[in-house]
């Protein structure tokens, strides 16, 4: 018993001398506090909404203005009704509004026109939240001016609602949570394999002194890095298709034939970006323990901020840019697009390009860092 205190003291001294660990112990809680305290909300704001207003009347403007003023939706115009669905499919918008050209006429005739409110169903929590916020579309502010009494014909019955809002949930009409979660899980697992396994791989060679032996052999640094990463790329790719298969066979995740090409490309660029990030972690770490901590430091915010669980639209505006600095964000966007929205690969050039750019950036940085540690 007597030796517990000196032993614990020694442990504390060791911890104190590891600056990266202190960073981890201090920054991790601060980061999580900020994220949960300020950043992550379940209430969306500034959600992009594509609209078509064929009526272009005072009344249709009332709806749009009220929606805009509530602050939840950011409206922009598209030309056709099909265009709305297309915008949501491409991920440019998460919601849509269609007002037919007969709107004001039917309204003044007390004939209860219909307005269509579209929501993206790929993210059920966002869908529910958007639906709640759609009340701005037909609350009193809007409808007060929409009741028309015909003084000549007092028999006209004024409906309680001057117009009817139809909500159309696109892509995941049953709002299945597994459709929303499972594709993202593939990305989480690959992230773990890549960052933890590849992340500790170079530093392990360093710790076991085998790196020194390799450096004096004719093996080039590029060959070293490529040879090092190759097995992890294979494992990650296997993992990708394996989980996809399980999702398809057990949870009925749709795999449309149009998605095959995109899935292949996604598996390659996402794996590359994660493995190269793992490599970067491995080159900046002195010990395997540090590499592990760094990997966790990347994984946790990635899961929280990528729109995998919490919608990006519901994040604080200061936190949102961070989401776009995370490769996993683009993975989530692409895989949900491919599987659930049947978005074409060609409509997701930006997220694909982002993943490719991340891979290049991380690879270049790790080669620079690797060259430096071997000098």
């Amino acid at each position: 018993m007597k030796s517990i205190i000196p032993f614990a003291k020694k442990e504390l001294i060791q911890l104190k001398r590891d600056p990266r660990l202190i960073g981890f112990l201090i920054f991790m809680p601060i980061m999580l506090m900020i994220l949960f305290g300020y950043g992550l909300r379940l209430e969306p704001k500034n959600v992009k909404m594509a609209f078509v207003d064929n009526d272009k009347s005072y009344f249709s403007n009332l709806i749009k203005t009220n929606l805009w003023n509530e602050g939840y939706f950011e409206l922009y115009e598209v030309s056709t009704k099909e265009g709305i669905e297309e915008e949501i499919r491409k991920g440019n918008a998460k919601a849509g509004l269609y007002i037919d050209k007969t709107f004001s006429k039917l309204l003044t005739d007390n004939a209860q026109p219909h307005v269509v409110f579209y929501v993206d169903g790929t993210m059920p929590s966002l869908t529910t939240a958007m639906r709640n916020k759609s009340s701005a579309l037909n609350d009193d502010e809007v409808t007060n001016d929409m009741y028309f009494l015909d003084e000549d014909d007092t028999s006209t019955v004024i409906a309680a609602e001057p117009f009817i809002m139809d909500t159309e949930v696109l892509f995941n009409p049953d709002e299945k949570e597994t459709w929303f979660f499972l594709p993202g899980v593939i990305g989480v697992l690959i992230m773990q394999i890549a960052l933890i396994l590849a992340g500790t791989s170079v530093v392990r060679e360093r710790e076991s002194n085998t790196l020194e032996q390799l450096l004096v052999s004719p093996l080039s640094k590029v060959d070293f890095i490529l040879g090092k990463m190759f097995p992890y790329v294979l494992i990650s790719l296997f993992e990708f298709y394996f989980i996809l298969f399980i999702g398809w066979s057990m949870f009925e995740i749709p795999i449309p034939s149009s998605a095959i090409g995109g899935l292949v490309l996604l598996s390659v660029v996402y794996t590359a970006s994660m493995i190269s990030l793992g490599l970067l972690i491995s080159t900046v770490s002195q010990t395997q323990q540090q590499a592990m901590f760094l990997a966790i430091f990347v994984i946790i915010p990635s899961i929280l901020l990528a729109g995998f669980i919490f919608p990006i639209e519901a994040m604080h505006e200061y936190i949102r840019p961070i989401a776009y600095m995370i490769p996993f964000t683009y993975f989530v966007e692409i895989i949900r697009g491919l599987l659930i929205k049947q978005t074409l690969m060609t409509d997701m050039i930006i997220p694909f390009a982002a993943l490719t750019a991340f891979s290049l950036l991380f690879t270049i940085l790790s080669i620079i860092k690797f060259k430096r540690i071997t000098q």
């Binding site: 076991s208 085998t210 032996q213 390799l214 052999s217 004719p218 071997t374 000098q375």
Partner: protein
């Protein structure tokens, strides 16, 4: 085989190796001797192309260290101080892996080497389960599959028992006899004595070099005496202050004095008398490498 001219290595403001010069001939065992942190490992790592020298000139097997490191890699074998072997891999798997880096795939050769180095009964044993002596033999094999001209060995017998150390040195001699050039760092005196030529490295500077005999003679302006008697505890402390006494080294109940020739045997006897109760005699001896080593190291300090 190895020519080093004014080679330095600087890290930031720290000069770890300071403009050193030496030459190693073919078939020679050259020892780089020095205390810890003298710059021995930095020097051998520069020769092994693991790090680039900050300045100077050097050739290995007539190849320029600065411009032809890739060609040099094919001609050298390097066994680092904490030689890197893959613990999870078996003996033969380690050999195969390192040989493959040089494009060598010759099972017959691997088995021949294992036999020569008497590790053939452990072919499939995981290297992590080998004892220190066998680990070094394995490391040596891994550095030899590509038949290098030069072998660079960083502290090759550190932490090894005397019997195994002898076995390893017999192997080194055999390699040298077969025309290989060996460059060895060490801080063991008896190991340095086994080399054909040695250089003393201290705080990044070569403070003496030559054959072990020549080095020993560098203390020729000094005499060495042995005292075998029970002496008072403050003898060493008091006499160490005398300028003429360069070194007092204790071995059990025996004291070694390295003194300047200006101090005669009789004078030393008188100096010692107050601390020794019994009759005693000073025996004349000759400097050994350790005397030189400590004397040179202390001078620098």
């Amino acid at each position: 085989m190895i020519k080093v001219k004014n080679i330095s290595k600087v890290y930031g403001k720290k000069r770890v190796v300071n403009s050193i010069n030496f030459e190693v001939n073919k078939g020679e065992i050259y020892g780089l001797l020095g205390p810890n942190a003298a710059g021995k490992t930095t020097t051998i790592r520069m020769l092994a192309t693991a790090i680039t020298p900050s300045s100077g000139e050097a050739t290995m097997a007539n190849l320029d260290l600065f411009t032809q490191p890739n060609e040099i890699k094919l001609r050298i074998g390097y066994v680092a101080q904490y030689f890197g072997l893959y613990e999870e891999l078996s003996v033969i798997e380690n050999i195969r892996f390192y040989a493959s880096l040089y494009g060598i795939d010759n099972e017959e050769l691997f088995h021949e080497l294992m036999k020569t180095y008497k590790i053939d009964h452990f072919v499939n044993k995981r290297s992590g389960d080998l004892s220190g002596g066998y680990l070094r033999r394995l490391a040596l094999i891994c550095a030899l599959t590509h038949d290098p001209d030069i072998l660079l060995l960083d502290e090759p017998t550190a932490g090894i028992d005397p019997v195994t150390r002898k076995v390893l040195w017999d192997l080194f001699y055999e390699l040298a006899q077969n025309g290989k050039t060996l460059f060895v760092t060490t801080h063991y005196m008896e190991e340095a004595a086994r080399c054909n030529n040695i250089a003393f490295l201290n705080s990044g500077n070569i403070v003496a070099q030559g054959s072990p005999d020549e080095i020993r003679h560098s203390l020729s302006e000094n005499d060495v005496y042995l005292l075998k008697a029970k002496f008072g505890s403050n003898l060493v402390k008091e006499l160490d202050r005398k300028e003429e006494i360069r070194l007092i080294n204790q071995y059990g109940e025996e004291l070694r004095f390295v003194v300047n020739k200006s101090l005669s045997k009789e004078q030393l006897h008188k100096l010692i008398e107050p601390y020794v109760d019994e009759e005693f005699e000073l025996l004349e001896s000759s400097p050994n490498l350790e005397d030189v080593f400590i004397a040179l190291t202390q001078e620098e300090m």
